[in-house]
């Protein structure tokens, strides 16, 4: 009996958390469609004007282009740099491996604000601050290790025997890679790419510290417009938030076809 009550309490808490999450999200959505909304459970009249307003006033076309460009570049580079490193870390044993793993682990557990400020200082010194290249370089710092750690278990699942068999049958290193390793790694690459993509689009701290006039991603632009506040109607900011949310949710839905939800957080070993 006591066990039952205990489980009930757990479910009530989780239900509360889920409802609160849905409340937060749907409040933003409802507000973005409201004509005026103050102190009532629902707005008296609905409109879609705020989307048009947000699109023109916040220059969303340009912001979205920049965001997508940054996100795709980061995904491409993170995979390009992370793929070979993950291969070696998964396959080989050498003396400095634990140290290397620690080094790759640090950018993921140290808060971005802590290393973001020295990183921004360094990049501004080389004239990269405020540029799209600067944002890409900064966001890559946690994304390269993320790609490495997501790809590693996928390599571990592929038997070394397959590579050896290929080599015995006369395949060169390049052929083993192209014909054996790469096709088997497609699910891993997809998973890593999606995780990097979602994390890049929702990354705030690093993108914020390095953003200039023409290199604001959607989240950063959302933040700045919230503070231009006062002059901007809150409904238009919510409209922008909904556009951002739609993008992330769409990606998340695609991602969940390939990725287990728990893969999105660290595993404690």
């Amino acid at each position: 009996m006591r066990g039952r009550m205990w489980h009930l309490a757990l479910y009530i808490f989780i239900l509360g958390f889920v409802l609160n999450m849905l409340g937060i999200v749907s409040h933003v959505i409802v507000s973005s469609f409201a004509k005026r909304w103050f102190g009532k459970p629902l707005p008296p009249a609905f409109t879609t004007d705020w989307y048009a307003y947000a699109w023109t006033q916040f220059d969303l076309g340009q912001v979205l282009t920049v965001t997508l460009f940054i996100a795709l570049t980061v995904v491409f580079l993170a995979l390009l740099i992370g793929f070979p490193a993950a291969y070696i870390l998964a396959r080989r044993n050498f003396r400095w491996k634990p140290l290397l793993l620690l080094l790759f682990f640090l950018p993921l557990v140290i808060p971005q604000m802590t290393y973001g400020i020295p990183l921004a200082t360094t990049l501004y010194r080389y004239g990269l601050g405020g540029t799209v290249a600067g944002v890409v370089l900064a966001v890559l710092v946690p994304m390269v290790p993320l790609a490495v750690f997501v790809l590693m278990p996928f390599f571990e699942q592929i038997s070394v025997n397959l590579e050896w068999s290929g080599a015995v049958l006369g395949a060169s290193r390049g052929q083993v890679f192209r014909r054996i390793l790469f096709p088997l790694m497609v699910p891993g690459i997809l998973t890593a790419g999606l995780l990097v993509l979602v994390n890049t689009i929702s990354n705030f701290e690093l993108a914020f510290l390095l953003a200039g006039a023409g290199s604001q991603t959607l989240v950063v632009s959302l933040y700045y417009n919230m503070f231009a506040g006062g002059v901007r109607p809150v409904y238009s900011i919510d409209a922008m938030a909904v556009i951002y949310m739609t993008m992330v949710m769409a990606l998340l839905l695609v991602a969940l076809r390939f990725v287990r939800p728990t893969q999105m957080v660290f595993r404690i070993k």
Binding site: H7, M113, V265
Partner: protein, 294 residues
């Protein structure tokens, strides 16, 4: 004569170097080097020539600046403890799978994916004095005046909780569900009550994971920035140390002082991590001792 120690054959050949190098160089250039440069810069104040600790002295001489350390600790420590306790309870209760597991975990990762800005904007609306939460409570007749939950200390805690709870819960769930269920079964067969099973068998096994989760959640909460600005009072009660560093860097353009604050922030996080590691060591020895004695 002692036999030479058997060394594992090193498999570090040219290919390995070639493959590792890009990632290693990237982390060294963009992560390690900026840290070193920041440390160096913090020791070269703008106002003086040469090396000096002037930035650190002025930080610890100004209550408006050193007060941020206390503010940040008082935000991060309670949040971490609440998050950890609730996540432990939930994860422990659900360690053998639960109803609608996949749906619930999907909703739980939503705040992680949506990011802090959207979350803060939503909390501002939902928990604001005119938001649904207060309207609901007033509608039921529980309260007369709305609770003030935003633009203060509670607002920031709320945002931190929403961000950190899912992360911590899923991490602990993974850890706890990985513990061999036969241990628990044996304890039950030997007549232990559920509480004794938790206290004597499971908790010592969970403790190391719990310590890591504590450290990660604490360090992340300690760097609280956007939610402290959006949901708190960034010039008063919730002026966290990140805000202080940001203001020096991008409002005063004193990169040297900003680097000093970033170094202090990093040291505070490091100190907390060391405490956890020491604590964890004590915990695991006492756990093994406990087993040995009985």
């Amino acid at each position: 004569m002692r036999a030479a120690p058997v060394r594992e054959r090193s498999e570090f050949d040219l290919l390995a170097i070639f493959c590792i190098l890009p990632a290693l160089l990237y982390v060294l250039c963009m992560f390690v080097y900026p840290f070193m440069y920041g440390l160096y810069l913090s020791l070269r104040p703008m106002k003086a020539d040469g090396f000096s600790l002037a930035n650190y002295f002025s930080f610890f001489a100004d209550p408006y600046q050193y007060g941020t350390i206390w503010i940040t600790f008082s935000l991060a420590v309670p949040t971490t403890i609440i998050v950890l306790l609730l996540a432990l309870l939930m994860a422990y209760g659900m360690r053998r799978g639960f109803f609608m597991e996949r749906t619930i975990t999907t909703v739980l990762i939503m705040p992680i994916c949506l990011g802090v800005i959207l979350l803060s904007e939503g909390i501002l609306g939902f928990y604001g004095s005119q938001g649904w939460f207060n309207q609901m409570l007033q509608g039921v007749g529980l309260i007369e005046e709305p609770f003030i939950l935003t633009h203060n200390y509670i607002g920031v805690m709320l945002a931190l909780f929403m961000q950190q709870f899912p992360f911590c819960f899923l991490m602990l769930l993974g850890y706890i569900s990985g513990i061999d269920p036969s241990l628990e079964g044996s304890a039950r067969v030997l007549g232990a009550t559920p509480w004794i099973v938790f206290r004597r068998v499971m908790l010592p096994l969970i403790a190391p994971g719990l310590a890591i989760a504590f450290a990660l959640v604490f360090v992340m909460s300690f760097a609280v920035f956007p939610s402290a600005v959006m949901l708190g009072q960034p010039s008063g009660a919730t002026r966290s140390i990140s805000i202080a560093a940001y203001q020096q860097a991008f409002e005063q353009y004193d990169m040297s002082y900003a680097s000093a604050i970033a170094v202090i922030m990093g040291l505070c996080q490091l100190a907390a991590l060391l405490v956890i590691i020491l604590f964890r060591r004590r915990m695991s020895t006492s756990a093994t001792m406990g087993v040995g004695k009985r």
